[in-house]
Amino acid sequence: MNQSQEYTILLNSLDKAEQGPVLNDKDWDLKYISQTVSGLVKKYDISWNQDDPIVPWDDEFADRVFAAGVELALETGVFCLDTKRQMQWSRDELDLILSLTPKQVTTGAGEEAVKVFARRPDDDTRVAIFGGPWGVAVPEELYPSYIESYAREPIFDMVENATLLSTYGRMIRAGSPWEAVAGWQEAQMALEAVRRAGRPDVALGSTEISTTEVGELAATTYGGYRPTDVHHAAFISEQKVSYENLTKAVHIAHTQSLSEVYFNPMYGGYVGAGPGVAIAIVSGMLLVKVCFMGTFCNTGPTHVHLDCSTHPDLVTATSLAFQGLARNTNLLTSPFIRPTTGPGTREIFYESGALTMATVVSGASLIDCVQSATGNKQLHASPLEARFCGELAHAVEGMTRKEADPIVSWLVEKYKHIQGEGLIGQPFTEIYDLETLHPTKEWYREYEIVCKEMETEFGIELT
């Protein structure tokens, strides 16, 4: 990795935010994004219907999605919310940055060092598992044991953090000193949680409580989060960036930390339906890479009404985009598994499993799991559904897309009719024993039933 070259590229991104053409927000949404995506869907003939495979295996189709995404990325670029300027990259710049992308990266340290690999569709290379309740709100008194319950799952190569509801009993105010206090408290509690789980060197997702740059700046320092943890910076839909997130990217670069940078296009929003989302994922993943110089590129496209990433059309869109990226780049990609259903329900295994499986066979490098019940219900996520995703991901390494398609279709049929019915399940405190941090018998029984189904129906053994 050429650090100085990457740093120069990051500085150039900051220049672009101050030197590009000035635009207004509405023109960006309607003319630059919506009209361009609509034109690219037609130009590259990106379409499918309900009778087509939910996990396509046509390489030429995936390459067309990739080409359309590249064109969107180069034509539009990124809109800087603070300067109201368009940031654009040339084809040469994009190619240079992609050429610098490593084919493998190590997260964590010591016994917890884990290699994450660039993968191709139908690849048997190991996929990494990033387990945790990302974005799920948790009272501070439960935070350490909640994170510990995830860290105790050996299948998680990295442990993602939850959102603190308060810090020392106070509300956490974005951009204020309280965000700094909360960021530091989160780091201390998360580090204590993984130490108690006997995994002090495992990589942690960080800094979760960092609405602005303040949390990340406060918590990624001596005694806090480490360079071997996985730090976050993000776009706002569609293809918009803030100085706050660019500042995080600069700090991540200065501390030579790993990062997972992300972008969630909106299904039903300015990019339209599935085909537009597929193009937007490719474009957004390329742009978060070039804009932030991140390590891993993540996406959890969001249905505008359901708030999930698991709508059947999104499964196909995400699969196609990941195939296009995996066939044409070495980007280390990850899907964000965000089902409508919550822990304690049998359906969450089907819903989370479908997108997990579709993306593993499409070339994802790691799986982010699970933001249960769309992530906005307090304590509504548990390690068990994430364990299921991890086990399923490893079980289908080497499976082809064509082989996976009927299984994913079977999974989708199990949940698509109940999306939107508010099946949010139960909070962690009702389905886990807070002393032992083990799932209740009832909740574990649901997991066993679905594992058994996967074995009897498809011969997939989950252990």
Binding site: A174, G175, T211, E244, M266, A273, H305
Partner: protein
């Protein structure tokens, strides 16, 4: 007498296509033929916008189409309906009420708030959109300036809720809380924090937000 059964579907097509000239012409010709502006609004604009809103709820159309339809109706109102009402001695206001919308300080997410704004518009509300990252004092100042009926606030991130609470506290502190109905929404909000935010109601989603605004203003 206007044939609303023919006019209304055609008007819907015009606004979805963003054909401002055709939509304005239809409104002008219908009024010239004897319809009152209120009749045109009630028989053509309102049902067309409700049709657009319903199609977005089922994702038969997407956000850009809804933006286009709302913008086209704004044009028709500005060029034909409002002037005609004024000429007839009315105040030119046929909206169900005036709503100010903002994503609160610290939060830059706008798509959810924009969806609510559009759904309110297509359901007959007058909407003042302050954008994202709006400070509590700015929200209150604009609410006073615009003489709104409803203050609507959105937050996707829990760390932005304190700024939402500030608005409620400031309204109470200034002794003007009773002047306004307050609705909150967004992923960071939950039903049990509505009271803490000094809000009247919480909208679960865009459609629910519209229903709650109608309820608050007695328009259901």
């Amino acid at each position: 007498m206007s044939n609303w059964e023919v006019l209304q579907p055609q008007f819907t097509k015009y606004i979805l296509a963003g054909d401002e000239d055709a939509a304005v012409s239809m409104a002008r010709e219908t009024l010239d033929a004897g319809a009152t502006p209120v009749e045109f609004f009630e028989n053509c604009i309102a049902p067309s916008l409700q049709h657009v809103g319903s199609r977005f709820e089922t994702l038969d159309i997407f956000l850009p189409e809804m933006v286009t339809a709302a913008d086209t109706v704004d044009k028709v109102n500005a060029e034909v309906i409002n002037p005609a009402v004024n000429e007839a001695g009315g105040d030119g206001d046929m909206s169900l009420g005036k709503v100010i919308l903002a994503t609160v300080q610290g939060d830059l997410h706008d798509i959810g708030k924009n969806m609510v704004g559009l759904m309110l518009k297509v359901n007959g509300f007058d909407v003042v959109d302050l954008g994202t990252n709006v400070s509590p004092s700015d929200i209150i100042a604009r609410a006073e300036q615009e003489n709104v009926d409803v203050i609507g606030m959105s937050a996707l991130l829990t760390t932005c809720l304190p700024y939402m609470k500030d608005v409620g506290d400031m309204l109470v502190g200034k002794g003007i809380r009773e002047k306004y109905s307050v609705i909150i929404g967004g992923a960071a909000t939950t039903p049990d924090i509505t009271e803490e935010m000094s809000a009247n109601v919480r909208g679960d989603n865009a459609a629910d937000g519209v229903a709650k605004c109608k309820m608050l203003l007695g328009k259901l």
